[in-house]
């Protein structure tokens, strides 16, 4: 881009200047859209249309009778038409987030973050947002089953009780296999089972294991627990392949903390972030310095950093082989300078690496500053060793009974196949999984658990920080909460709610200052969160064998020299073979929610691919493959003797000699949405130092075949016009000197007698502007705090009943997302230096830009609509009247931002989309739809409405209370779900509103109230020179890099 001497490109094909790209560059819509992709031609359509008109007129002879069916007994707190909000807690294995659930007429329809949580502060992830649809998953079990036949809970209890007794009598193990259980009451229920049957053993594992970290902490501080990290206090952050914004431990929490260090609205300092990793992760994309490091060198890199710091601190060094890693010296220098205000994390599951990381943090005095050992996180407690032991015991036949507590190890554990075959040797196998998944389908008894939105529960997310869950809907099916089942099988009263309440009464009655326990309990339920005041945790319940409860010692006692020796043995600086780095992506995560189309169609923030996993390959390793807009080839990937076919995706930033593959795909028994999507990477997980290793450094080979494949990427779909001024960025140093750095405002030539005959594009207009007497809604997007996590996209989809269209239609460029996040790669190489650019492309800078309808005050779409279906409101909104729209698509043609979406099909009640879009095609799925938003039909245009239903509701509430609208009361779905506060929505007519204050909004002199200018030096409008005057304003991206980056 000329104005800031940077070149941006959307994909490699554009950078390479492919003839096809050049050909298509002038065109707004690609040629490749075919009409007969779905088995019906235009002629069929006309025939059908003719018939349906006839049929419709016949059917219309009788006026339809519509019924109004009231409650028999109206619950006191439900008023039809008014939403209720309940604080609750999201559970998915070890992922626990405090949430607020919005219900309408008793149906949960939206999940948002709980702002009262001191951990996440209202932050949320896309997976949590999407979980509300999993409640209405049609593949959920309808009730208990025995030997694949429907049964009753009485029979299940009888059978399980008998068998457990017999197994216990024989002295054989009763194994409870789960992911991390963060609920103290659930642990207590398992402990109760243990009391009844002495051979009960609780084994926990995590899909993305943190076992190595736990063991390292055990060695270093005496407790196998994960301390709580505070990124907000860190001036220098160094991460070795820990994707802490995307999936490592607690992304919703870390995103919020991290964004505080990137926020430049009130200060002029920023954290500096180094990322050393093989795959381009979401965190790496946000780093100031990102260095591609092969997995086989990772341990050496950590050891080298340890030695660099040790030489400054005067500590003893570890002896490992040397390795050349860019920026490592620089990182060490800065870490040392920011002693006590820095943070080093590693995503490695190798205990030796983590011991050294602990050693580094100890030398940097980060413990007690950015790392708090006294309030450990309880969301990762899985132990690889005990799981391994379990599998071998199972195969040996010494395990008499297995209860899978919402765990699916047959799919998501590397020894899944061994577990499936070993189950035959157990007398009893039970699964409480909600779906008859890979594990449940090989179990005798299915005792399905409730969805978390139907359940009572509690969680100790961090020591002393509790979160409670309350049901927001009665169980949809004949399911029973798993802890209830445990209590029933233990021969106790199966009422888990009273059990839970009793526990709380016991634990906290001493510190209750609110009056009776009921008052205390009601307050806790209302808030959803509770922080215990006593320093010693009142809840000392952990049923697993891992010791995570004891207080850690404050002094570091890790054996660094042993760790160094281990690293010297396991890592090599000059591994010549291909290495596989298995990772977890932002949308699908570990795959437990894979049957959720909201996540399948959520474009990966980096690759922008949907509905697939793929082998990410460095440009240099692509073996001559040229990818063009998702068209790629399949590769034969061989890992330790197993060969599978997987599509190749060329990924800038991928470390040379490595390939990446995401877990969470390749499900076979998840349901219609996920089955057969992608390949399963779990079986490839190997082992280092007794714990799982996601890095496979030997025995990997791949060959790109001739078989064509298409990956449904949204990456280059109508992202922007081929003009400059889409993105503005600068460096921190420049920003400190001049806050407007990198934000050269464009000027246009004029006949007016101004200086140089040039004026700001907004100053000239053919239009007269609008009078916004009351409100002027506006949105500010800070490109510096936005990290691309995509929670906003899911939130928008759920709020606005946006259909999911499936892979075929994404390939046809017909995805319906109102909000997209454009991901641009850039580098400092000269615009004309193609070779330099190509090199830079191996590890480019990344910028994320959320893009939705810009609600232009001079909207080009409005002027071309022949039927006035889109027009302007007196509050600054660009409105869309679906029933007026006749589908000419002129508006989409005329939109400079390409944010309008056309309904090519009827996505609801349409067999063709029943798999990809169950929320509009099954009775169950339809319960999630927002009743305040129309479900659009075929042939109409749609786009972001600024959540006009929320605006209207907020205004009405103010009118009912006879007052003005308060700032923050009206918020759009995307902004309310943003964990970083990067999106700020409000009334620009209100000078006190957050958005007005941030942008320093004022009305342009001599203009109508619609024409506002923003005085924040960082603010800019995308394509400002077009003069459409958007109501969405962006703030420049600032990178904390030194003037000249080395590639």
């Amino acid at each position: 881009m000329k104005n800031n001497k940077k070149t941006y490109w959307k994909g490699i094909e554009e950078l390479r200047n492919d003839p096809d790209v050049v050909k298509n560059a002038e065109r707004e819509f690609p040629e490749s859209i075919t009409e007969s992709g779905n088995g019906s031609s235009r002629r069929d359509f006309l025939k059908m249309m003719g018939f349906s008109i006839a049929a419709a007129s016949l059917a219309a002879c009788e006026a339809p009778i519509r019924n109004a069916i009231p409650y028999v007994n109206k619950p006191e707190d439900i008023d039809p038409g008014i939403p209720n909000y309940y604080a609750s807690t999201y559970f998915n294995g070890g992922d626990v987030v405090s949430v607020v659930v919005k219900t309408r007429e008793g149906r949960p329809i939206k999940v948002e973050g709980n702002e009262m949580s001191t951990i996440t502060n209202g932050g949320i992830t896309g997976q949590v947002e999407a979980s509300v649809l999993s409640l209405y998953d049609n593949s959920r079990l309808r009730g208990p089953k025995i030997d694949q036949k429907s049964s009753s809970w009485e029979e299940v209890d009888k059978l399980v009780g008998q068998k457990l007794k017999s197994v216990n009598g024989k002295g054989k193990t009763i194994a409870i296999v789960s992911n991390t259980v963060a609920s103290p009451s659930t642990n207590a229920a398992i402990a109760a089972l243990k009391e009844t049957y002495s051979t009960v053993e609780h084994i926990a594992y995590d899909q993305q294991s943190a076992s190595g970290l736990l063991q390292a902490n055990k060695e270093s501080f005496g407790t196998a627990s994960i301390p709580s990290y505070d990124f907000s206090k860190a001036d220098v952050i160094v991460s070795f392949s820990a994707d802490f914004l995307g999936g490592w431990v607690s992304p919703a929490e870390h995103s919020g903390q991290y964004s505080k260090t990137r926020d430049l609205t009130t200060k002029k300092t920023m954290s500096r972030h180094y990322q050393f990793e093989a795959n381009m992760s979401l965190t790496g994309a946000n780093a100031d310095y990102r260095v591609a490091v092969k997995p086989s060198q990772e341990g050496l890199a950590v050891a080298k950093l340890y030695n660099l710091i040790a030489s400054k601190a005067g500590g003893s060094k570890v002896s490992t082989g040397d390795v050349e890693i860019n920026h490592l010296q620089k990182a060490a220098d800065e870490l040392w300078k920011a002693k006590g205000k820095s943070l080093v994390v590693s995503g490695s599951n190798d205990k030796a690496v983590q011991v050294l990381v602990n050693g580094i943090n100890d030398m940097l005095s980060n413990y007690g500053a950015t790392i708090d050992l006294s309030t450990p996180s309880y969301t990762r407690k899985g132990d690889d060793a005990s799981m391994k032991q379990f599998v071998s015991n199972l195969s040996k036949g010494s395990v008499g009974a297995v209860v899978f507590f919402n765990a699916n190890p047959v799919y998501d554990h590397p020894m899944g196949a061994a577990i499936a075959s070993g189950l035959a040797k157990a007398e009893l196998s039970v699964a409480t999984n909600m779906v008859e998944d890979e594990t449940a389908s090989v179990c005798q008894v299915l005792a399905p658990d409730n969805h978390y939105l139907e359940a009572w529960n509690d969680a100790e997310i961090r020591k002393g920080s509790f979160s409670v869950a309350q049901p927001t809907i009665a169980p949809l099916f004949q399911t029973r909460q798993a802890p209830s089942s445990f209590l029933a099988w233990a021969g106790k009263d199966s009422d888990y709610f009273s059990f839970l309440k009793n526990n709380w009464n016991q634990w906290f009655s001493a510190e209750n200052t609110l009056g009776s326990f009921q008052v205390f309990w009601d307050t806790v339920l209302h808030n959803g969160v509770y922080e215990t005041k006593s320093t010693a945790s009142a809840v000392a319940v952990d049923s697993t064998t891992v010791d995570s409860i004891a207080a850690p010692s404050a002094s570091f006692a890790g054996n660094t020299s042993a760790a160094g020796a281990s690293i010297a043995k396991n890592y090599k600086a000059d591994n010549s073979g291909v290495e596989l780095a298995i990772y977890q992506n932002v949308g699908i995560g570990n795959g437990s929610q894979a049957n959720n189309p909201l996540l399948q169609e959520l474009p990966d923030p980096i690759t922008k691919a949907t509905w697939d996993n793929y082998l990410t390959v460095a440009i240099a390793d692509a073996q001559g493959l040229k990818m063009f807009e998702g068209e790629t080839k399949l590769a034969e990937l061989t890992v330790n003797g197993t060969t599978i076919e997987v599509p190749v995706l060329i990924q800038p930033g991928q470390a040379k000699g490595t390939v990446g593959l995401a877990i969470g795909y390749g499900r076979t028994n998840a349901g219609k949405v996920a089955n057969g999507v992608g390949v399963n990477a779990y079986p490839f997980i190997t082992e280092v130092n007794g714990t799982q290793s996601f890095n496979v450094t030997s025995g990997v080979a791949y060959k790109i075949t001739d078989k064509p494949f298409k990956i449904a990427q949204t990456q280059t779909h109508e992202t922007h016009m081929e003009r400059d001024n889409v993105l503005r960025e600068t460096t921190l140093a420049d920003f400190v000197n001049d806050p407007a750095a990198g934000n050269e405002r464009p000027e246009i030539a004029t006949w007016l007698d101004e200086e140089d005959h040039k004026v700001a594009p907004g100053a000239l207009s053919l239009w007269h502007g609008h009078d916004y007497n009351n409100h002027h809604w506006g949105l500010a997007i800070d490109l510096n705090t936005c990290n691309g996590c995509s929670a906003c996209i899911v939130s928008c989809n759920v709020e606005n009943n946006i259909p999911m269209v499936g892979k075929e239609e994404v390939l046809n460029r017909r995805e319906m997302h109102w909000l997209r996040i454009d991901r641009y790669y850039s580098s400092d190489a000269d615009v004309d230096d193609r070779v330099g650019l190509e090199q830079a492309a191996e590890n480019p800078d990344v910028t994320f830009q959320p893009m939705m309808c810009q609600h232009c005050n001079n909207a080009p779409c409005e002027t071309v609509c022949p039927v006035a279906a889109t027009m302007h409101s007196t509050e600054g909104l660009n409105q869309m009247a679906y029933n007026r729209c006749i589908g000419t698509r002129y508006c989409a043609n005329n939109c400079p931002y390409k944010v309008r979406r056309f309904n090519w099909f009827k996505y609801h009640d349409n067999e063709q989309f029943s798999d990809a879009n169950p929320q509009m095609n099954t009775d169950l799925g339809k319960m999630v739809l927002n009743p305040d938003v129309t479900v659009r039909s075929r042939g109409v245009m749609e786009k972001c409405s600024f959540c006009v239903q929320r605006i209207q509701a907020g205004k009405l509430q103010a009118k009912l209370d006879r007052r003005k609208v308060k700032d923050g009361e009206v918020n759009v779905a995307c902004a309310s779900s943003c964990p970083t506060g990067g999106l700020i929505f409000g009334d620009m007519n209100d000078p006190e509103s957050k958005v007005s204050q941030l942008l320093k909004v004022k009305v342009r002199e001599g203009s109508k109230s619609s024409d506002k200018v923003t005085d924040n030096p960082r603010s800019f409008h995308v394509l400002e020179e077009v003069g459409v005057k958007p109501n969405v304003t962006y703030l420049t991206k600032v990178r904390n890099v030194d003037q000249k980056t080395e590639a």
Partner: protein
């Protein structure tokens, strides 16, 4: 579509008007016959006076058409000994009973010796005016207003109450019978004449023979002009009906008064008992939905009152079996339109009756307003914004006053914009 709709309305109105004229003249005759020999007044003033007296004093115990605490008063002037007797009984019933009057004593026994309050203060004229009102109600019960299609426009203006549909069908059947008889007679005459002519065949000319020996062929029938005309007419009529039905399905159905699963009377509850609309329609002040009341709201009163009624039993059934009552929606807005009751009733202070009509006088609820977008817009153009005491509108009012464009209407603050109702 609108043209079709207007035509339909006009034609319907004309038919209804004609029928009503016939009917009301019949009623008028009947009335005169029965009122002969009594002193019950028939003038509007007395009836009106009687109505208010009835509402104020009688209706807690009496209804016109059903037994409450006391007997139904329908035709009371015919079954009691005399109008004078009624005057005496109303003023002091115990006196009449004690006098040994047989009718009064029977009545007293039948109603479990429930004493009727003595209305000694009533003048004879007042009691007579009440009787006048009862008579009016007996002869022209408001419940006859069910005939949905005939109540609008010309029909109501014609002065008579609406036409019972059974009369219409009776007249139509009679007409058909007469037509069929005429047809039979004509056929008989033709056959007799043909026979007669055939007998004297030799006397007829060739031309006359052709007429008598005419044979009917299918082709001839199909080509006959009257046949083509008839088919065309039937087709046009059906097409016309289809268009009308389509208009109905869009929801333009003023006067739509479907039969409900329970014969709930708004007239009784909201009108005579003066129960506030809010009492049952709980959402109207705070929600988008006014709410069809749930069965438990009915039971707030009906666990005590009129527990024996067959209709109330239906409510008990619903509660006992936990099966909600499936009311038929009268006011149907399409899904694409967002309407919020609290905005209009609570914020704007619009009375229920403005859109729903005089519900308190409806035995069966019917659609009063068009409920089309044009109707909404019309109102938004005309209506002043209710800004009194609402700080939300302060700035808007100030700016509007500065612009000096008169009173601030809903359209002045964006009330005609698409996204106010469609999203």
């Amino acid at each position: 579509m609108t043209i079709g709709f207007h035509k339909a309305r006009k034609i319907k109105a004309i038919i209804a008007f004609a029928l009503v004229c016939i009917m009301s003249s019949q009623f008028a005759m009947a009335q005169e016959a029965s009122s002969a020999g009594t002193t019950i007044p028939t003038d509007e003033a007395s009836i009106g006076n009687g109505k208010s007296l009835f509402s104020a004093n009688c209706k807690t115990c009496h209804a016109i058409d059903k037994k409450l605490v006391g007997p139904a008063l329908q035709g009371v002037y015919d079954r009691t000994p005399s109008v004078e007797w009624i005057l005496g009984f109303v003023k002091n019933s115990q006196k009449v009973i004690q006098s040994g009057d047989a009718y009064a004593n029977d009545l007293y026994a039948e109603y479990n010796q429930t004493q009727m309050t003595a209305f000694a203060d009533f003048s004879d004229e007042e009691v007579l005016s009440i009787l006048a009102y009862i008579k009016q109600e007996t002869d022209n019960p408001t419940t006859a207003a069910v005939a949905a299609t005939a109540t609008e426009g010309g029909a109501t203006e014609a002065g008579g109450d609406s036409v019972s549909s059974s009369y219409v069908s009776a007249i139509l059947i009679a007409l058909l019978v007469v037509l069929a008889l005429i047809l039979v007679v004509l056929v008989m005459i033709i056959s007799v004449l043909t026979k007669h002519l055939n007998n004297k065949e030799e006397d007829l000319s060739e031309a006359e023979k052709e007429v008598t020996k005419q044979s009917f062929t299918m082709e001839g029938v199909l080509r006959a002009k009257p046949f083509i005309f008839a088919v065309a007419f039937v087709f046009t009529a059906l097409a016309f009906k289809a268009v009308i039905s389509q208009v109905y399905s869009v929801g333009i159905q003023i006067g739509y008064a479907p039969e409900q699963p329970i014969k709930f009377s708004h007239k009784l509850h909201a009108g005579e008992m003066e129960i506030d609309c809010n009492y049952c329609h709980t959402g109207v002040m705070k929600s988008k939905n006014a709410n069809i009341p749930s069965a438990n709201i009915c039971l707030n009163c009906h666990s005590q009152i009129k527990t024996e009624s067959a209709q109330i039993k239906l409510i008990y059934d619903a509660v006992d079996n936990n099966k909600p009552i499936e009311w038929v929606r009268v006011h149907n807005l399409p899904d694409l339109a967002y309407f919020n009751h609290s905005q209009h009733h609570n914020v704007a202070g619009i009375e229920c009756q403005t859109c729903h009509g005089e519900v308190q006088e409806m035995e069966v609820v019917e659609q009063h307003s068009l409920l089309t977008m044009g109707w909404c817009i019309e109102c938004h153009r005309k209506t002043d914004v209710n800004v009194k005491g609402n700080a939300y509108y302060d700035d808007l009012v100030k700016m509007h006053d500065e612009a000096g464009k008169g009173k601030m209407k809903v359209e002045d603050i964006g009330g005609l914009e698409c996204s106010k109702c469609h999203y």
